[in-house]
Symmetry: C2
Subunit: 342 residues, 2 copies
Amino acid sequence: MTDGERVLLGHGSGGKLYRDLVKDVFVTAFANPVLERLDDAAALAPRGRIAFTTDSHVVQPLTFPGGDIGRLSVAGTVNDLATAAARPLALAAAFIIEEGFALADLRDLCASAAATAREAAVPIVTGDTKVVERGAADGLFITTTGVGEIVVAHELGSAAVRDGDAVILSGSVGDHAVAILAARGEFKFSAAVRSDCAPLWSLVEAAVSAARGAGGEEVLHFMRDPTRGGLTTVLAELAEESGLGIEVEEDAIPISPAVRSVCDLLGYDPLTLANEGKMVLVVAAGAADAVVAAVRQTEYGRGARRIGFVTAAHPGRVALRTPFGTRRVLDMPVGELLPRIC
Amino acid sequence: MTDGERVLLGHGSGGKLYRDLVKDVFVTAFANPVLERLDDAAALAPRGRIAFTTDSHVVQPLTFPGGDIGRLSVAGTVNDLATAAARPLALAAAFIIEEGFALADLRDLCASAAATAREAAVPIVTGDTKVVERGAADGLFITTTGVGEIVVAHELGSAAVRDGDAVILSGSVGDHAVAILAARGEFKFSAAVRSDCAPLWSLVEAAVSAARGAGGEEVLHFMRDPTRGGLTTVLAELAEESGLGIEVEEDAIPISPAVRSVCDLLGYDPLTLANEGKMVLVVAAGAADAVVAAVRQTEYGRGARRIGFVTAAHPGRVALRTPFGTRRVLDMPVGELLPRIC
């Protein structure tokens, strides 16, 4: 643990120590005029429909190759807004801190959250801090909530998905989960895997724009980021909710050699592993090439490709076609593979 | 601890167990069409400016006379919206649960949150659940975030406060903190004190309406709920931020006999104790009687009264006038009096 000043129970008091912590750490890291008012609620003036989403982050360890809980807490919420085609408008960040946590670490993690928020062009406008006694929490939990402006007029979601639609994946799967496993020292060999943890609004904005050019924004039917439960869970949920089937080509799903090795050795299925910087998009077949090309132009979408299609042939089921020509059904994982992955 | 089914790590997986928990517990308790879509983000269509606020709740014990963490988590966020004169539009609730937590208790606490949300006429439209290993959290933490529609056109806040304004308090102070102390068994004698934990939108709506009738809504200058740090902290912050002084009459501040006894015995200052169902309002002097009368008509504002006034005489300082005619300065408490009060 880092040396130096530590968080005290008094930092959660609502009194002077609390105000000092808020000003020294949070207002400094997240500097913006709305937050600086320190009102109990921030005022915003959105245009049109808004999206609203929340996520608690309990990842362990707090720092890992490719990211940390600060970056993760911003990216996770930005990405949930992005699934609704919502440009992030403002974030709220609520911290639950264990007494004794190093202030220097808190500053570093807030700096990382702030940098990720700047990257996504979204201000952190309000927040909260609670401090609990030693042993009543594990270091730091961050709950991030986002408000975003929905940039499309139509309803995205499983109900909009149609027989024949293309299923697009924005890049390789499994990187985040394997990076966390590596950071936990759960295997001895060195695996140079970094978490894909990243904010995906630019990627989604490019997809929306490409959809508009390829038949109108309403050719974009569904987006979801494959986090806990991985790609398999997103596809299984979509099949269940839409009442349609999905067919994916195993060969088409990008998996890095390092992730594949770890999965082979430890017996994990990379399709069920969590990602934090990937998006699944379902679009009308005729628009798929344009959307893939546009997503590939973005920083976090370079590995985008079409991985399958929606079909009325086997309603409610996801079929994976293997390179050997066989098919297996992808079922949603039941229990927990990797606790505290995000 | 309650018998029966318990929360498992697998309930936090994102897979099938997770979906079952979300449907069985949260969707059942918070039933509404937006939440039932189970999208990563909820879509809302607010009119005009919105307020946005978040609070983590780590209160211990989870249930106490007059409330529980479920009611508290909804009331706290509704009240923060209310300070911005914002009608609650939608809430998000994020749960961090310790492995082994009784499902029956989780259901009860969600039912309480749902009842409080119904009372405040606000739907819980989105949420999240994380499960951490035994010992990595203390039972249950709930982070609630709110979006509200601001119903006034002017800017409320410390900058709007003027020399001569009236300071109004909606009822007695200290009840929440003393109820928590009693629930923790921190004193042997019986104190029949119930937490004041309640959603205050109706109270604030009545105040806004009365202000409109008494010179226009802009006579309402400032509202804040005296939670952690109590009434003293709200007044000290207001004095600091506004650059004006505040003078309050000790005799005018309602304190129940039971709260007063506990404070006398344990050495607490009731003015620094947390409340969860009270509001401080600062209004132009000419509108004070109308606002007090209107607030008194509401369920949680029956004890409302004018407790003091704003003055340019001692900028940045809060003076308490005692019944003996002496004055003492109220300073913001420095550290923590009562950890995990909310």
